[in-house]
């Protein structure tokens, strides 16, 4: 009689579980991954006439932040200087959790956004990018006339 090496097929079970978890955590998986632990953390939302992106990027010089939109992909990149002292200085680092170094994050935009109508504002350490949708993509009420 044939018996599998793993009774009950544990791996298939794990695989199924993972797929189930994925289904609950998001409607679709981006090809660039979900990137939960990236810097800066991103929140993305949409309104009927715009796409709103919030990047939680504290302590940056807005002049050194790069925001580009190319072929429907928004890229946010820059560098966060390291504020920790060098090893040889007379200081001890007890906790070092804050991000430092170069970063780059991307967001795939939907087809209906207008890359020419973008605003970006930096305040309280949060970069808020707002991209308007094309007029033609906005929901429109069509009046029904009667003869």
């Amino acid at each position: 009689m044939y018996r599998t090496l793993f009774p009950g097929d544990l791996f298939a079970e794990l695989d199924r579980l993972q797929r189930q978890v994925q289904r609950f955590t998001g409607p679709s998986t981006s090809i660039r991954g979900v990137g939960r632990n990236g810097f800066p953390a991103l929140n993305v939302g949409g309104t009927p006439d715009s796409v709103e992106i919030y990047a939680f990027a504290p302590g940056l010089d807005p002049a050194k932040l790069d925001v580009t939109i190319e072929r429907g992909v928004l890229t946010l990149s820059g560098e966060r200087p390291n504020e920790l002292p060098d090893e040889d200085r007379n200081a001890t680092v007890h906790i070092g959790e804050r991000f430092s170094g170069r970063f780059s994050r991307t967001v795939s935009l939907s087809d209906d956004v207008d890359p020419n109508r973008v605003t970006a504002e930096y305040g309280d350490g949060v970069l808020h990018i707002s991209i308007k949708r094309h007029e033609s993509a906005q929901p429109r009420r069509i009046e029904v006339k009667s003869h």
């Binding site: 939680f56 504290p58 302590g59 680092v93 906790i95 309280d124 350490g125 808020h128």
Partner: protein
């Protein structure tokens, strides 16, 4: 010198069971004191609170984001609007002279060491 003069307090007081985020911090110690940096993006100056009560340093902040009207979130990595973190201060730190700076979501705290706790050379007399 001990390296436990700032230790994280794990027990968050169950104040109304409010769920909060733990802000990432850097803690650096030099001869004259401790510098703490904390990332609190989204918190305006008037919604930040830094207190020292007895031996505990508490950092609390509430976010205010310029949210668009009728917005529906499609992806959210930051899901709570509040930060909270506490540290236990050692006796050698001068809690009456803590200075704070808050710029673009980064808090910088300077906690000097009490005069008696600063390192000094001990002369050993050889008899």
């Amino acid at each position: 010198m001990s390296d436990t003069n700032v230790s994280t307090t794990n027990q968050e007081p169950a104040r109304n069971e409010v769920r909060t985020m733990l802000p990432p911090v850097d803690v650096v110690e030099d001869a004259s004191g401790i510098t703490l940096y904390a990332d609190l993006p989204g918190v305006p100056k008037d919604k930040l609170s830094v207190r020292v009560e007895a031996d505990t340093l508490t950092i609390e902040g509430e976010m205010t984001l310029p949210l668009a009207t009728n917005m529906e979130a499609s992806h959210a990595e930051v899901q709570l609007p509040r930060y909270w973190r506490a540290f236990t201060l050692g006796q050698e730190l001068d809690r009456d002279n803590v200075s704070a700076e808050f710029k673009q979501g980064v808090l910088k705290l300077r906690i000097p060491k009490a005069e008696h706790a600063k390192p000094r050379k001990v002369e050993i007399q050889i008899l």
